[in-house]
């Protein structure tokens, strides 16, 4: 049962289990983040797991994963497949500049009582299904709306900023330091926004990859300042998983009491 709940969280609202005790983390891992040449390819692994970055638990379903070229146009995922532990897909890079690949989505989760017995909404419940999922006569209906985003960036040639513009919906990253210009020993500043406004005082967690081969997690915890900014000085080159979460009452789903917002990204930090 416990496993069932964890799995439900991992899949339907994977981003929220991110910083919680259960620690399932959703991630996407590109083959390269800094590339050169006329054109190139990246291949991306996408999974939900405990350890970073090992596929050992569940694949990320690719239904909501999209990619955008430096000019802002959407580009197709190619060679997509979903296996037992991970999904994988390719993106062809034909334009010079920064691409964004994102798994963004929303859902609803919660519980109600029917005849005095508490029941949970099924995992992956969508907003459109609420009417049919909650039976007439249900009491103690508790609904939370979720809005989550898992984004990675890759750059062919010089970094560009078109795809970094926030949509103004949910929790988003507004890079001050370009996410494909990160170097060990240097400080990087990122701003977080909720619905386009600075997300002050929210918790950010940064975990270096390679967990399997060390004893300590090496996690860095920080809070955004009044402008929603955090500054991270990278202790080592490598891959880092960054996660942020927040909640508020700005719901868009009728009957929901709470909105839970999540953001994760995988960042590559190069050696100087």
């Amino acid at each position: 049962m416990k496993t069932g709940i964890l799995r439900a969280l991992a899949i339907s609202t994977a981003l929220f289990s991110a910083t919680g005790a259960q620690a399932h983390r959703q991630w996407m891992l590109p083959s390269s983040t800094v590339l050169s040449g006329q054109s190139s390819w990246v291949t991306v692994d996408a999974a939900v797991s405990n350890d970073l970055f090992y596929f050992e638990h569940q694949p990320v379903r690719l239904g909501n994963v999209k990619a955008w070229a430096p000019d802002g146009s959407e580009v197709a995922l190619q060679n997509a497949s979903t296996g037992r532990y991970r999904s994988t897909f390719d993106v062809e890079l034909k334009q010079q500049g920064t691409y964004k690949i994102a798994n963004a989505g929303g859902g609803i989760f919660g519980s109600y009582k029917e005849g005095g017995v508490e029941k949970r909404l099924p995992r992956g419940a969508s907003v459109a299904d609420i009417e049919t999922l909650i039976p007439a006569g249900a009491t103690d209906v508790k609904l939370s709306e979720s809005l989550s985003r898992n984004e990675i960036f890759v750059t062919l040639g010089a970094p560009t900023e078109t795809v970094l513009k926030p949509s103004g919906k949910g929790l988003e990253l507004v890079p001050v330091t370009h996410p494909n210009d990160l170097v060990s020993g240097e400080a990087a500043t990122f701003q977080f926004v909720i619905d386009g406004k600075p997300a002050a005082g929210i918790e950010i967690e940064v975990v270096p990859g390679g967990i399997r081969y060390r004893d300590q997690l090496g996690q860095m915890d920080m809070k955004t300042d009044a402008e929603g900014k955090v500054t991270i000085t990278w202790p080592n080159p490598g891959l880092y998983w960054m996660s942020a979460e927040a909640s508020d009452a700005n719901v868009s789903v009728k009957g929901a009491q709470q909105r839970r917002l999540g953001y994760v990204s995988t960042l590559e930090v190069l050696a100087p």
Partner: protein, 171 residues
């Protein structure tokens, strides 16, 4: 003798205010070590100038420039400090910058006024970075002042991917 002096002076006059410009040069010697490894590929080498507060200036990049579809540019990013400092802002092949990879040995290359452009007075670093396919990477730095004193030189050496690197600065 007289004739050549006249030509130089004419050239300098055309170059404008910087009278000695025509004679400006950096003569660089780069040694690529011979390595006994199972699979050897000649390194990609970038040579560039940095000055605090100014954008970096690439002088030369030696890479597989003659591959079909310009495919050799795929690995330019492995010359990673140069790629970040300057390379990623260039398009390839780059006029006067692109060159073929070099075999192990000592290579002399001279950068004249055309390559250097107008260098403002100040403290510079000449950087040489080498990255080798299935091998390592190394960066060697030569600090210098510009304009240089007569006979100014700088020497450094790498320990893995580069051997001795030296420069003579002329103005």
């Amino acid at each position: 003798m007289q004739l050549s002096t006249r030509i130089v002076m004419t050239g300098a006059a055309f170059a404008g205010l910087a009278a000695p410009a025509a004679a400006q040069s950096i003569d660089l010697t780069v040694t690529i070590p011979r390595l006994s490894v199972a699979e050897y590929h000649r390194p990609y080498v970038a040579i560039w100038l940095e000055k605090t507060g100014a954008s970096a200036k690439t002088l030369a990049v030696w890479y597989d420039h003659d591959m079909r579809d310009n495919e050799g540019t795929k690995w330019l990013r492995d010359v990673r400090q140069w790629w970040r400092a300057s390379g990623r802002g260039l398009s390839f092949p780059a006029d006067g910058i692109t060159g073929a990879t070099k075999a192990p040995g000592t290579h002399k290359v001279s950068f004249g006024a055309d390559a250097l452009g107008t260098l403002e007075a100040g403290q510079y670093t000449l950087l040489v970075e080498a990255a080798r396919e299935v091998g390592g990477r190394e960066l060697v730095k030569l600090p210098f002042s510009w304009p240089p004193k007569a006979g100014a030189k700088a020497d450094a050496a790498g320990s893995t991917e580069l051997g001795a690197v030296s420069a003579v600065f002329n103005r």
